[in-house]
Structure formats: structure tokens, C-alpha cells
Amino acid sequence: MQAFTQMTGLVAPLDRVNVDTDQIIPKQFLKTIKRTGLREGLFYDWRRRKDGSPDPSFFLNQPRYQGATILLTRDNFGCGSSREHAPWALLDQGFRCVIAPSFADIFYNNCFQNGILPVVLKSDEVQSLMKDALGSEGYGLSVDLGLQTVTTPAGKQHRFEIDPFRKDCLYRGLDSIGLTLQHEPAIAVYEARRRSEAPWLFVDLSS
């Protein structure tokens, strides 16, 4: 996984609440057996008009947001299905950071598995950033995971909270499975205890 330390990037504002993962990437793109190449499916139904041509009113089709690396959006982003194709598609589009007042739990978790930093800011902070990002072309933000800050072009800093463990894993780009495997002895001890306390969970289901 790619580490995330700090970045400065162009902001793309998606001014909608409750954006669900079916919108982020519709079902027809879930048939893949790969993690890559999902950019084409990102916001697929919103990106196109009924005749299939690109909808110029959709934010990611507008020249001013080309090359954006920070997605700014509203409450409950990523709700619904657990599909990790959602962060894969965002990453494939070039987004490394999503800023919102709140995220759905599973999506929030999935971001960390893929080197994407989800930043929770207060509603009024997002409101002010949204206004600025919509109002001025080329609007960018600096995000610093180490300092846990989002800094505006005018120098205003917004601090965000993040679990220390998650932060460390993302900051160093750690392989989380490798990290868990370091605790193999503890897992083995637990498993032996569980086997004696709940032996009915250790019968071979294939027999």
C-alpha cells in the first residue's frame, strides 16, 4: 500500500449528501476480478447523459477539475454496499484524499486499506471549503497526516482527528496482514483457548 504523509492538490467538490457506493461505482463494474481499471466506472450514471455522451454539468467532466486529487463532499459519504471497488475507483481516478463531515463505517475503513486518507471536518468547515472550492477555479488544499491538518490557500488550518493506529499504518504504508501475522503466537494462544471453550466451532464443516 502506498504511504500517505502529506499532499497538496486540486480539490473537486461534490456537493451532495449520502453519496452511496452504488453511485460511486455501479454494479456492472463489480464483475471484474482485478483491483485496477475502475476509473471508467466512477460515478458512471452521473457522468453520462441518457444518450451515453458525457454530461458537461457533472463536476468531473469539467476542465477545471481535471487532475483533482482531493474529493470534497458532504455527510455520510460512501454509505451502502461494502464494495471496495469504490475506493479502488476513486484511487484510479487519482483521488488520494476525501474530505467530508462524516463517512459510512465500511467505506471509511476501506480507504485506509488502499492508501486513501478520509478526513472528517466539521460541517461548517466543509461548508466554507465547499463555497471556496466552487467559487474559485484551481482551488487547492494541503493535507498533512503527520500534523493532522488541512490548510487552505489563505493559510487557514483545520485540524482533524484520526485513530493513532490507523494513522501510523497509513503514514508508513504498512501491509496490515503482515502486521497481524507478527502476532501469530497471540492468535495461536487465543485459538487454543477458544477451541477448549467453544469446541462446537471447530468441527470440520466440509465433512
Partner: protein
């Protein structure tokens, strides 16, 4: 020391180790796997040269992509076929039990887990699917995960988790005649909102919950995620034990007795505290119909489509306006004036034998309206078999419903069962998101009984005084 909630008991008994900040390495007893969210996990294992830690703790089944028409024919969509083939190949390579597409035990992953006795009280259960919350009906801690975590559990039988908060949703009283668990959960989501449960595990309590059948409890827990909670649970009782007993993968003999003894401890202590509590009166719950593009956009069938002009909050107003435009509805119109084109009875929410019995009871002797196309998709091959033994298929067919093979089908329309743009569907599934059942399709979430009545009348009707 104050007592523990049901959640606390299960969580604490699965802690392998904890980081200083409370991040926990949690042991996972069982994992369910389906074809859509697993290929990249197995690929990850292969690339890293890892093997599953306990292949026998995992059960796999294809459900999302499978056709609900004649299975003897090859799958028309080569990409769907490849995904299902990939699951079969991976299960063979890694020694994981698979119920293949032509196995009578095949079905929606959240239907077959309980049906087989794979889902047990007091366990931690995960699946790369947000509706894993369904299994909480048995007093298990069950939640959906992403594909990276599917790989994590395969490799380590553990997950790194932050302890969630607990929310009690207490429903006392008696549900009115013909209202069901589906109406209860839709009413709950209407109350707490689609993010109300974010960061929480919900425990459903109260006399109206205890009165629910296991199927009803599954319907209830299934949609916890639509209220933002990754997991929902109901404490196990006699009904739970009776449901599990004798199922193919359930413990047998002395082991069963030993398990039941442990399961009896799985309840919230009288002096335990929840982080939040929400209460509802079952008597106040009317049959529910969603009118918008988020499950929280829901009202009683005796209500009206809301008017965004009366809404103070700008974000809510904008979201409502957008939803009404997408759904092709006008403010203030009575719900019973909404005409439908399609009816879908199925999904991990409402496709179990009890759902089908109930739906067939209402369909008996009736005819689906000429303007409506209606289908019934059983949750598993075994549900289908049982329904056919009971003659339910004949009732549905005679009423003009199509009777299909088991699978996820039109709940998310990954197979050929898709809404056309602008088509309006009364659906017993769980999500009414834009395009969920097909690009441009319009979904109204309802109970099986409400779906049957809508199929017959061509528009929504109040099931309480119908037929």
C-alpha cells in the same frame, strides 16, 4: 462494575490483543464468501504466497451474478461466468467448502448461513457484503467488510477493529395485524436516519422484537446497515435454539447441549449501559413505503410524499427535491396513488420461507394487474424446494407471478434481472438508491405483503384493509 451488553460479551470474548489506543485484534470465528468481493482477496493471498489459516471456518457460495432462469443453460454474460468460475477455482485451490451454482444448497449468502446452521450465537461472522448484519439475528456479532479485510481474515482469522459504540433500539407493544419486521426496520431507519447508527452496533430489544420469528429478526438485522450500523443483533432465546437445532452444520449431540448452555449466557445484563437508546411503539408502526432514493426516505402507506418547500434545512430540501425528481413523484401526493410497473419479492431481506408463505397467502386467488410484471426469487435452492413442496409456487404462478431460481437477482441487478430506465418497482429488497435495480429504475421498499397487494392493484394499497 456495571454489567455488560450482549455486544460487550461477544466482543470481549474475541479479543486477541489490543493496542494502546484501543484498536483491537479481533478473532473471527466464521467467514462467508461470495463471488463479487473475493477474487481480489484470493489474488492477494497468491501474490503474497499466503494460505488461509482455517479454510474450514469459511463457506463460499455464488449469489450476486447467478441467473435466476434455467441453470442448465450457460450464463449468457461471459464476465459474470468468469467471476463465478474464479470463485470455484479459488475454493478448490485453497480448500474452501463451496455450494456451487447447481447445488440445491446454493442461495443468497445471508440466507444459506442461517439455513445451514453455519450462523451461530456468540460468534463473530464476517463477509465481504454489507448485509452480513443479517446474522446478528442469532445473537452473533456479524458485519460487512471490504475485500482487503476478506483477505485479512482468510490469512489470519483476525481483523483489526476499533470498538464500536452500542445503541439499544427498543420496540415494545404489539405490531398491528399484517405489519411485519420489514415495516419495523423501515420505521426505525425513518426515525434514526441513514447515518443514525454510524459507529454503533445496534441491539434490538423489547416485546415486539422478542415476538418476531427468526426470519423476522433476520429481516430486521439485515437492514441495520441502512441505518448506518455495521451490525445489529437480537439476544438468542428458545426460538433461536429451536431454529438452529438439527441444521446440517449446527453442532450435534453433546456439543449442541454444551453450546446451548453457553448461548443462554448471551444477553445484556440488567445493569448494563448502552451509549444510546432509541424507543419506538410497535402499535404506532404503519405499513411502510419508501418514496425516495435513500432508505431513510420512507413513510407510512397512509402518508403522502413530502413537500421539500416545507423543509427548513437546505441540505435536506435539496436532497428531497433531487429524490422526487429522480423518482418522478410530486410533493404531497398520497402514497397509495403511486402506480408501479414491476414487483420484486426476494433478496437477503425478504426471501425466506416465511416471507414466501406470507406473500403466497395474500396472492392466493388474486391476479397480478395487467400493467405489472411481478417475480418471486427464493433466497436459496432449499427455500425454493420447500416452497414447491408446500405448493406456494403454484399459488404464485396462478396469480401471474414469475417463479425463479435462487439468487440476489433484482435487488442489485447484477444478473439479467434489471429495471429499465423510468420503470417503477415495489421491492422487498433493502436499497432504493438511484440506479440500484437498473440505471434510471425507481425502487420503493416494502414488505412482502405490501408488494403482493401492489402487484394485484397496480399501485400501493394499505395492506391492513386489503383483500
Amino acid at each position: 462494575m456495571s454489567g455488560q451488553t450482549l455486544f460487550d460479551k461477544i466482543w470481549d470474548s474475541h479479543v486477541v490483543r489490543a493496542e494502546p489506543d484501543g484498536t483491537t485484534l479481533l478473532y473471527i470465528d466464521r467467514q462467508l464468501v461470495h463471488e463479487v468481493t473475493s477474487p481480489q482477496a484470493f489474488e492477494g493471498l497468491k501474490l503474497a504466497g499466503r494460505r488461509p489459516r482455517r479454510p474450514s471456518a469459511t463457506l463460499a457460495v455464488p449469489d450476486h451474478n447467478v441467473p435466476t432462469t434455467d441453470r442448465r443453460l450457460a450464463i449468457a454474460d461471459p464476465i459474470s461466468a468468469k467471476q463465478i468460475q474464479t470463485l470455484e477455482d479459488n475454493c478448490r485451490e485453497f480448500g474452501i467448502t463451496l455450494f456451487g451454482m447447481n447445488d440445491i444448497r446454493q442461495g443468497v449468502v445471508h440466507v444459506i448461513g442461517p439455513e445451514q446452521g453455519f450462523t451461530l450465537p456468540g460468534t463473530t461472522i464476517v463477509c465481504g457484503d454489507s448485509h452480513t448484519s443479517t446474522h446478528g439475528a442469532f445473537g452473533a456479532l456479524a458485519f460487512g467488510i471490504g475485500t482487503s479485510e476478506v483477505e485479512h481474515v482468510l490469512a489470519t482469522q483476525c481483523l483489526v477493529q476499533k470498538r464500536p459504540k452500542t445503541m439499544e433500539i427498543r420496540v415494545d407493544g404489539t405490531l398491528s395485524d399484517r405489519c411485519s419486521a420489514k415495516d419495523v426496520i423501515l420505521a426505525i431507519i425513518g426515525r434514526i436516519g441513514t447515518a443514525g447508527g454510524t459507529g454503533y452496533v445496534i441491539e434490538y430489544t423489547g416485546s415486539a422484537i422478542s415476538a418476531l420469528s427468526m426470519e423476522g429478526r433476520m429481516t430486521l438485522c439485515n437492514m441495520s446497515i441502512e441505518g448506518g450500523a455495521r451490525a445489529g443483533m437480537v439476544a438468542p432465546d428458545d426460538r433461536t435454539v429451536a431454529y438452529i437445532k438439527g441444521r446440517p452444520l449446527a453442532p450435534k449431540g453433546d456439543l449442541f447441549d454444551q453450546a446451548v448452555k453457553a448461548w443462554r449466557q448471551l444477553k445484556t445484563d440488567a445493569d448494563a449501559k448502552y451509549d444510546a437508546t432509541v424507543t419506538l411503539r410497535a402499535d404506532d408502526i404503519a405499513p411502510q413505503v419508501s418514496w425516495g432514493t435513500s432508505p431513510g426516505m420512507v413513510t407510512g402507506v397512509d402518508g403522502r410524499v413530502p413537500d421539500p418547500r416545507t423543509m427548513g434545512d437546505e441540505k435536506t430540501r435539496k436532497a428531497t427535491e433531487r429524490a422526487l425528481e429522480y423518482m418522478g413523484l410530486t410533493a404531497n401526493m398520497p402514497i397509495t396513488d403511486i402506480r408501479i410497473d414491476k414487483v420484486f419479492i426476494g433478496s437477503c431481506t425478504n426471501s425466506r420461507i416465511e416471507d414466501l408463505r406470507l406473500a403466497a397467502g395474500f396472492a392466493k386467488g388474486k391476479k397480478v394487474a395487467k400493467t405489472v410484471h411481478a417475480m418471486v426469487v427464493p433466497g436459496s435452492g432449499l427455500v425454493k424446494q420447500q416452497a414447491e413442496e408446500e405448493g406456494l409456487d403454484r399459488v404464485f404462478r396462478e396469480a401471474g407471478f414469475e417463479w425463479r431460481e435462487a439468487g440476489c437477482s433484482m435487488c442489485l441487478a447484477m444478473n439479467a434481472d434489471v429495471l429499465q430506465p423510468g420503470e417503477r418497482c415495489a421491492s422487498t429488497s433493502n436499497r432504493n438508491f438511484e440506479g440500484r435495480q437498473g440505471a434510471g429504475g425507481r425502487t420503493h421498499l416494502v414488505s412482502p405483503a405490501m408488494a403482493v397487494a401492489a402487484a394485484v392493484e397496480g399501485h400501493f394499497v394499505d395492506i391492513r384493509n386489503w383483500g
